[in-house]
């Protein structure tokens, strides 16, 4: 057995913010000089001053440092709905020796994911319904016992992994009258075995991404699955939401990585009889489980593919004169099937966003070099700094092969008017995805609210979809009385043979609006309608949860929905897993 990390303590909220994203010690602040700074030592950006960030915020949102809102400093325990648990169940539970808690903070911490409205409630209000009790099983057998007890006492179970959901999947249905049990998988975090011959590992589903990679690395392996939330999200959560990782071009998405799943359901345990790369035994039951969003049962153990840790990693970036050329280049890279581990194309607004996070440069020499680069691109090559866009790249593998691969990709880029723009720009681009959620917390302090959402779309509609959705957001903001132009930006974040995944950031300054969350939700909904009308999907990897349920029928047809419902009815006839997601 391997050791678990600090994040898997019972009370992980002690390390993490209770009302925002990530670690307590890591956040954006404005220092005494009024300059933006990122605190803590966990990230590369930690302790650095970001001289242009403040100006960017002011310019982009019309926000001012003088207008501040502050969150409640701590949870007001008196506001928290009481825990209602029947004594017979508690007796049975105690008999199993499984840890549990009815503490208010423990329950509130597991009552939400990280949607904007959820964070807003934490800062300013209280959820109407939260779990009545939290249980911490430490192994598969514990889960079996809990599910049996839930069936016996007719309780509702909501599985909880890393709590990073952005689909309202963790919110408790307000009308649920039964006791709600939050089943926290964080104590099921061991790697059970590693099979070096077949390159697989069997892992308990509660392990979070960074621990999994750290521990596998000790044996020289990795899964290569790196969703943006990997610091906090869990293996079971990835399976339950059909997650996708940044480096899917090499390692695949979760459905490509998973070899075997064990899940505990009210009907019993579901699993296969062997651990094989592929089998033809009717529809793959894994596909009922992946994306089931906690409606069918609890994933307890997963056998996942592993790879030797790559010898060499290299970031890179390419500047394109405009977004159209950039998309054409990514399409060509996908066509030639030579995409690096990751390739992303950010639009101009996001490029400027990334640029605003540039730390203070250490020497005159670097700043001189930066100036020279800028001069070369804008003046000599004639790129318009307000139109150009940037692709960020990550190569991985043998050193020699990486260099070869790099050349191939840069050659294609050249054909589309792209100019290599250095490793630094590339790396900063990826950093943005890890700190973006921290930036949202900063925005919330200054009347700026925002969120990200994603979709997948065929190649020929990428440009139209990006343009129309961004425009729709701008218009809806105007119509809804938002005083300042919003930030409405996108990137093509994954490439496939037949299409791409597009990721949007959307934020606005809500000063002067009485019900910002409602306005925000209306606009997000309009943006989703726009995506669907443009031939995009309901979700590429965030999932449906309760946030996007209304479009399920349209997305998969009546019959399709009926198929899913019938599975749910068979597996969980009493709706023990009653989080009301998906269906």
């Amino acid at each position: 057995f391997y050791k678990a990390s600090c994040l898997s303590s019972f009370r992980m909220q002690e390390l993490l913010k209770w009302n925002g994203w990530g670690y307590n010690d890591s956040k954006f602040i404005f220092n005494k000089k009024g300059q933006a700074e990122f605190t803590g030592k966990r990230y590369r950006l930690g302790g650095m001053v970001l001289p242009t960030f403040k100006e960017w915020i002011e310019k982009t949102f019309g926000a001012s440092l003088e207008h501040k809102t502050t969150s409640r400093a701590s949870l007001n325990v008196n506001d928290v709905p009481p825990s209602i648990v029947n004594e017979e169940f508690l007796q049975d539970l105690r008999a199993t020796k499984i840890s549990y808690s009815q503490d208010a903070e423990d329950r509130v911490f597991r009552a939400h994911g990280h949607c904007l409205h959820e964070i807003f409630v934490l800062r300013e209000g209280m959820f109407k319904r939260i779990p009545d009790i939290v249980v911490w099983p430490v192994c598969h057998e514990d889960v079996v016992k809990i599910v049996e007890l839930a069936c016996k006492h007719n309780l509702c179970i909501i599985p909880f992994g890393g709590g990073t959901s952005v689909s309202s999947a963790l919110e408790c249905p307000e009308e649920e009258k039964r006791t709600i049990v939050s089943l926290d998988t964080s104590q099921m975090n061991r790697i059970l075995w590693i099979d070096e011959k077949n390159l697989t590992a069997c892992v308990e589903a509660g392990i979070v991404g960074q621990d999994l990679e750290k521990q596998l690395a000790e044996s020289g392996f990795c899964t290569g699955h790196e969703p943006d939330s990997m610091e906090f999200s869990s293996l079971g959560g990835w399976v339950a939401t059909r997650a996708s990782g940044m480096k899917k071009n090499i390692y695949g998405n979760i459905e490509d990585l998973v070899i075997h799943i064990k899940m505990v359901t009210p009907r019993g345990i579901v699993e296969k009889n062997c651990q094989v790369p592929r089998m033809s035994t009717g529809p793959d039951i894994h596909h009922f489980i992946m994306g089931s969003e906690g409606t069918l049962g609890v994933v307890t153990e997963v056998t996942i593919k592993i790879r030797p840790v790559p010898e060499y990693q290299k970031y890179g970036s390419v500047v394109f004169p405009n977004f159209e050329r950039g998309v054409a280049c990514l399409r060509e890279v996908a066509k030639q099937r030579c995409a690096p581990a990751s390739i992303r194309l950010v639009d101009n607004a996001q490029f400027q966003f990334g640029h605003a996070l540039k730390p203070q440069v250490a020497s005159i020499f670097t700043s001189f070099l930066d100036g020279l680069k800028k001069f070369y691109i804008t003046k000599f090559k004639g790129f318009d700094p307000n139109i150009l866009c940037v692709a960020t790249l990550l190569f991985e593998g043998d050193r020699e092969k990486v260099l070869q691969h790099e050349k191939q990709v840069y050659d294609i880029a050249t054909k589309f008017g792209g100019l290599a723009a250095g490793e630094d720009n590339g790396q900063r681009g990826y950093m943005l995805t890890f700190v973006i959620a921290y930036i949202r917390d900063l925005g919330l302090d200054y009347y700026v609210i925002g969120e990200s959402f994603e979709t997948s779309v065929p190649w020929d509609r990428v440009l139209d979809l990006c343009r129309n959705v961004k425009e729709r957001i701008v218009r809806e903001c105007k119509e809804k009385g938002v005083q300042f132009a919003p930030l409405s930006t996108c990137r093509v974040t994954q490439t496939y043979d037949a299409g791409a995944c597009v990721y949007f950031y959307f934020a606005f300054n809500y000063r002067g609006i009485s019900d910002p969350i409602h306005v925000y939700e209306q606009i997000e909904r309009a943006a989703r309608e726009e995506i669907l009308a443009n031939g995009g999907s309901l979700s590429h990897h965030h999932g449906v949860g309760k946030l996007r349920k209304r479009w399920m029928k349209e997305s998969i047809s009546d019959v399709g929905l009926g198929m899913l419902r019938s599975v749910k009815e068979y597996v969980d006839p009493n709706n023990i897993f009653g989080n009301k997601n998906l269906l």
Partner: protein, 670 residues
Amino acid sequence: LYFEDILEERRLSSDLRYAMKCYTPVIYKGLSPCKPNAIKSAVLQSEQVQYVIKQLAKEMGESPDIIQEEAMEILDEMGHSMQLGAVRFFAFTLSKIFKQLFQRVCVNEEGMQRLQHAIQEHPVVLLPSHRSYVDFLMLSYLLYTYDLALPVIAAGIDFLGMKIVGELLRRAGAFFMRRSFGGNRLYWAVFSEYVKTMLRSGYAPIEFFLEGTRSRTAKTLTPKFGLLSIVMEPFLKREVFDTYLVPISISYERILEESLYAYELLGVPKPKESTSGLLKARRILSDNFGTIHIYVGQPVSLRTLASGRINRCPYNLVPRHLPQKPSEDIQEFVSDVAYKMELLQIENMVLSPWVLVAAILLQNLPAMDFELLIEKTLWLKGLTQTFGGFIEWPDNLCARKAVLSGLTLHANIARLVDGHVVLNDKGLEDGAVGEIVFKRALAILMCATYRNQLLNVFVRPSLVAVALQMTRSFRKEEVYSCFSFLRDVFSDEFIFFPGISLKDFEEGCFLLTKCDAIQTSQQEIYPTDKGSVIVSFLSAMFKPFVEGYQLIFRYLSKETKEAFTEKQLIPGVRNFVFQLLEKGNTQCYEALSSDMQKNALAALVQLGAVKKKKIVETLLWDPATKFLNSLAGCFCLPLPFGFQSFSQGFDKQREQSCLFLIEGLLCVLE
């Protein structure tokens, strides 16, 4: 509402300087400027056109190069080649000509400002009404004057028959479409892609006429859907964020082609567009054609129209470049949009006092006391305004002056003789009977051209009035059934938004209530004492149509036994009516109008009384004799029952009730 006279400035300063002015038009924000030829090659290389070329090559076993060549030729025939030089030439010559022809050309300023914003924001489609060839010249002239991007204009291929002029128009932004190309897939692909390419890139506002051709009667023609569905497609496929549709109403105090139209309606063929013809027509330059009013309507966002209607994603499951027949939903949507835009055109059409005079005069032939005419004109002005008509009548202008100035401008139609106003049908005394009838018909049809401008404003309350008289019932339900029937019969004659019969009825009732002509309760409608004047005026206004249709139905039931073609029908009806007129058995001169005949036929087809058949490339109409046979001679039958069964869908009963209704129709009028 403020109208600006754009000729005023022209009369004060140099036309040459105006034509040579620095022209830096307002253009679409996303436009990367390109030459007309670049558009053509983009069209040729487009996936859409290439797909059809490959398909045809495969089917016909020909080399794609040959078909590509053919596509190239189509493009060359079709494509505009807008050049500033030609535009300046037009700016100069049109200044001269317009100043000669017209007293004033008035434009609503805020409309131009709205248009200016619209052009920058999204691709724009200009949808003017079509009464004259002057329409599109005037519109381009207007946009040039206001420094807006000049439109590309869909023009009929016939213009290319005109030497020099055709090419000049091409350089001024006209592109040419063949009259019919339904079956030609290559042509369709090239044409639609050509239009869509210009629209998507925001190259220029696209202008075409929903009515398809100049309305010879000044009554809005039912819309054509082909071009509209093409320009709507880029939005429906989300290739553009939105598209603005701009209804534009151009109204003429006196229509340049008025007498040509009257001849044409009476069967004297329209002269082919030719340069020499144009030169011959220059004598009209010495004539006065009064004022033109151009009302540029509020740009209508296609996205707004579609929201909540087309929410399924009809194009998501097929690659967008494949030619695809639009779904029924979309066809219905296109049709609704077309009608909506035409109704907006009608709403904003400016009516001159003469229009009122013409309407009154036609009810008081052969002669009318001048004083009475003035009095009536003033009365009708009030009524028209109550119905939402948009009359241009200067505040301080007294009715006498208004009528007199109308009579002066239209001296060719009517004149004042001994305190009476009479139609101007000269040569009445000394011709043969046939000639007298023809001359009279000419004068009446010309006069009707002006009255017609009122009809679409009046049609809803008037059909309620007609229905009230026909049913002689106060029961709302019965009146409505009759109204609904009339609305169906006249569906090609007047513009009704599809499928809202009840709403139209309610609007008609509302307007009649507003002018105190009727009172309504939950179940019933009563004409007021005072209202009988209005009700009878309104039904008299539409009498020529009711009577004309009756004559046409009679002809169809009596005179034709077998199937016929349109070419046979029109002269047939004309002769039939002509004879009746000669004998003095009818006074309905308007039944001679080929426009009415065609509309009546279209209505009968829609009602199922006549069937359309295609036999060896010829369209035949086959009358359901049983239905039509007993139409005539039923003048004295009691009033009809059974409107309900009629309005509830067409079955066996329908024929019967249809019959009853038409009988009823005849009864009232005799």
